[in-house]
């Protein structure tokens, strides 16, 4: 019997080499880098960073942002890429290799990747919907729809704006609150199906096919951003928007919330803790300079954020300028009509003089005039982030540009490519662990597995096509894509530095890259990054716990913030807690397995890492 055991254990190296040969590989280094960059650069770079920059004092925000990149973003990025490249499995395999009790970390990553993929592709479905409707002339969100008698616009649209109406009523057909679910919007469901089909055709064979698609989806957004940059700088009011964005307000640096938001923005922007980056680097050849890759990806991600905010804010400045001019014109019209002054006599420049003159000559009449105060800064302050920026503010701005269809089409294709390349990372974070766990039957081809993943995700994501779907999406966005990731990342860094062993990790990197990581990496990994993660996590939880959980329900007449009902809030807490709980549950499961373990299993390691 002992002979049998020896035979089974003598030749594990051949087995791993054979397995490695059948493991997919990148065609070239560029594919790998583009995939990582595409995963990191997503919708958040375009619609979250400019908003944060503008809210937190413009150029001054770059300081906490860059500090967070250096202290938190780059170390974690390097860590994930290195550990994936060394241990050559997906997220579950990597953490299980480090310690069987940490398998739950990988499981949590996989769950978060799956849940995020659900709502992220729904956003892409919305982008597709807008893309399809950008081929209309005039754009459907330019004018309100009219009542049947053709004398006036629909009431709901009159109260808000055409862009708002098109987004909330014609696209989402949103219900007044989260409890009323309404029916599934079949048009959105069709767009969702189209989005998942596009994802499937790119993802059908894993990195074999995404590696080809990424050449287009990762580079195209930069082309469009450059086009928008050039065009937006020619618009009137562009410099106004840019000045507003970048003029630093150093006072905001005293507010701790700025530092918290900078840290969380860097963290989520780099797509850490999803398991996707580990999966991507696990397909690398063993000797690859992961340190340089990490620095490249991190810097490109931040540079893209800054680069994208320039055209965004130029266009927002243009929009503010246009709104200001419309406001002034309506006031001028008012004055001209009331006092029968010949038109074009009052202009923006002499408006103030006319007003004082009319005030002096016609006392008491001013109160009844209904003049709105037109302040350029109020219009500039009306910035937005997220779907509000893309689907309301930006679409409105596009209608005021000449050739609006072209700009709309370009913008939505850009958003779609940005989101698609991030989706590849999300799905890879689900696919690679599944393949490495060997729970997939041997007869199932990869195409079928990826198809099943897409089909299951599509079916579950149909809840976002309900009339209350947008409310649920915001819940998923704030509760799944935040706290669990911070927890996972904290466990990741503790696992590598203190359980796997920082010295062993340094040796691995030296073997892979030819250079031992220098003092910066050592300090960051051992002390600063875990500490920073802990502080960010605690402050995030404290800040969120102090706020009343409310959501803004659609009301065309006035902004409305409703509290979440109890059962919805319970779901929110579950969404945050379940991925986190998978970590201790994984450890517990392993402990139970240990108690039931047979003693005649082969316990030798297939290869000893330390030799």
């Amino acid at each position: 019997m002992m002979d049998a055991i020896d035979n089974k254990c003598t030749d594990p190296i051949q087995a791993t080499e054979a397995k490695d040969a059948e493991r997919p590989k990148w065609d070239n280094k560029a594919q790998y880098l583009l995939t990582c960059v595409g995963f990191a650069v997503g919708l958040g770079n375009v619609w979250r960073f400019p908003y944060l920059c503008q809210t937190y004092g413009g150029g001054a925000f770059l300081i906490p942002y860059l500090i967070a990149l250096v202290c938190e973003g780059l170390p974690l990025l390097h860590l994930e890429l290195a550990i994936g490249q060394k241990l050559r499995t997906g997220s579950i395999g990597v953490w299980y290799s480090i310690s069987p009790y940490l398998g739950g970390v990988g499981l949590a990553s996989m769950t978060v990747s799956f849940l995020v993929g659900l709502f992220y592709n729904t956003i892409l479905a919305w982008v597709l919907w807008y893309f399809f409707h950008s081929f209309y002339n005039p754009l459907p969100w330019h004018h309100c729809p009219t009542k049947p008698n053709l004398t006036e616009y629909i009431e709901e649209c009159k109260q808000s704006t055409p862009a708002n109406y098109f987004w909330y009523r014609e696209t989402l057909n949103i219900s007044p609150n989260i409890e009323s679910s309404g029916i599934i919007q079949w048009k959105l469901a069709v767009c969702l199906a189209a989005a998942w089909c596009i994802v499937y055709v790119c993802f059908i064979r894993g990195i074999e096919t995404t590696g080809k698609a990424i050449y287009v989806t990762a580079t195209f957004p930069y082309v469009v951003l450059t086009i928008f940059l050039i065009q937006s700088l020619t618009l009137p009011g562009a410099t106004l928007g840019l000045k507003y964005l970048f003029s630093p307000n150093w006072e905001t640096l005293k507010n701790p919330k700025v530092w918290l938001d900078a840290a969380t923005q860097i963290f989520f922007s780099l797509s850490l803790a999803f398991g996707g980056l580990i999966a991507f680097s696990s397909y690398n050849p063993e000797k690859n300079n992961c340190e340089r890759d990490a620095v490249i990806v991190g810097c490109i991600n931040s540079a893209t954020s800054i680069y994208a905010s320039i055209p965004i804010f130029a266009i927002l400045g243009f929009k503010a300028q246009t709104n200001y001019e419309e406001c002034m014109n309506s006031n001028i019209n008012n004055l001209e009509n009331t006092f029968n002054i010949s038109d074009q006599n009052i202009t923006e420049t002499n408006y103030k003089e006319w007003l004082t003159y009319l005030n002096a000559t016609n006392q008491g009449l001013d109160g009844s005039l209904n003049l709105t105060t037109c302040d350029l800064h109020t219009f500039l302050n009306k910035s937005a982030s997220g779907t509000g920026l893309a689907f309301i503010v930006f679409t409105e701005a596009v209608t005021k540009m000449p050739g609006s269809q072209v700009w709309a089409v370009l913008f939505f294709i850009m958003l779609f490519s940005l989101g698609l390349s991030s989706m590849f990372g999300n799905l890879e974070g689900v696919l690679t662990p599944l393949l490495d766990l060997h729970i997939v039957p041997k007869w199932m081809p990869k195409e079928l597995l990826t198809g099943l993943i897409c089909l299951v995700s599509f079916s579950i994501a149909l809840i976002f096509c309900l009339q209350s779907g947008n409310y649920w999406l915001e819940i998923f966005d704030s509760y799944v894509g935040s706290v669990p990731l911070l927890v996972i990342a904290f466990f990741e860094i503790i696992a590598v530095v203190y359980i796997y062993g920082i010295n062993r990790f340094n040796n691995d990197i030296e073997w892979m890259t030819g250079r031992r990581p220098n003092l910066y990496w050592q300090v960051m990994w051992r002390v600063i990054s875990p500490l920073m993660l802990l502080v960010v996590f605690l402050s995030y939880v404290i800040v969120e716990a102090q706020k009343q959980p409310t959501y803004s329900a659609w009301n065309p007449y006035h902004a409305q913030n409703l509290p979440y009902p109890d059962w919805v809030f319970a779901i929110c807490v579950l969404l945050s807690a379940v991925p986190c709980c998978l970590i201790p549950l994984g450890a517990l499961y392993q402990f139970i397995q240990l108690l039931n373990k047979h003693t005649n299993r082969c316990t030798a390691e297939p290869y000893d890492v330390e030799t």
Partner: protein, 223 residues
């Protein structure tokens, strides 16, 4: 006698002015010529007013389908520098009777497009206060554009999926045929031992048997 003649001459215009100034059946009109035309703006004078009154008379003719309306039926007052004024329409049969507001409104709405074009203005720059402009009717498409774009996208995607699936099926089939070919060769060479039913018979399974001995599941670290 002289006063009588004077009265007779001056009375109709005075009555007309009173009819107009009453304001109950009249509509206020506002023109913003400079806003609409900029440098090509024409000056508003008596001739333009004459033109305007004739377009209104034309509208009344078209609406009632009678050729009885004349420029003298259109009375104008309260002219200002804004270029705004009030007008009323008198009945061609009885000069002291005014046409009711609603009918004037219908007549104007019917021909607003012609009136706008006559003055090179638009609904925004030629306002009839109280008569809402007829908004553009929503364009109806026989095939909505979004369906066309959607069809194109779905078509391309479907072709992509099918071609990728077909290529992987053919790849698998070719690999299987190669494997079967090799297996047949080996079976041909070793036909004799088959009679004993040795382990070579299990060569039929191309993928081999998953050997639990090489399982990675027990990779434990030094913890």
């Amino acid at each position: 006698m002289l006063t009588g003649i004077l009265l007779l001459i001056l009375l109709p215009p005075m009555v007309a002015q009173d009819l107009c100034k009453d304001g109950k059946e009249g509509y206020k009109v506002r023109l913003s010529i400079k806003t609409a035309l900029g440098n090509d703006a024409y000056e508003w004078n008596e001739s333009e007013m004459f033109f305007f009154r004739s377009t209104l008379a034309f509208s009344m003719r078209k609406y009632f389908k009678q050729d009885t309306y004349d420029i003298s039926n259109i009375l104008v007052c309260h002219e200002t520098q804004r270029v705004s004024f009030v007008f009323v329409v008198t009945s061609p049969v009885n000069r002291t009777q005014l046409i009711p507001k609603e009918e004037v409104e219908q007549a104007v709405r019917l021909n607003k497009h012609r009136i706008n074009n006559a003055f090179l203005l638009s609904d925004m720059t030629l306002e009839f206060v109280g008569i809402p402009p007829t908004l553009a009717a929503p364009i109806t498409y026989s095939t909505p554009p979004w369906l066309i774009v959607f069809g194109v996208v779905i078509g391309v995607v479907a072709v992509g999926i099918l071609s990728l699936l077909m290529s992987s099926v053919t790849k698998r089939r070719r690999a299987k045929e190669k494997g079967v070919g090799l297996g047949e060769e080996e079976e041909g060479r070793e036909a004799l031992p088959k009679e004993n039913g040795t382990a070579l018979g299990s060569l039929g399974d191309k993928d081999g048997v998953y050997n639990q001995g090489f399982s990675n599941e027990d990779r434990i670290t030094t913890l």
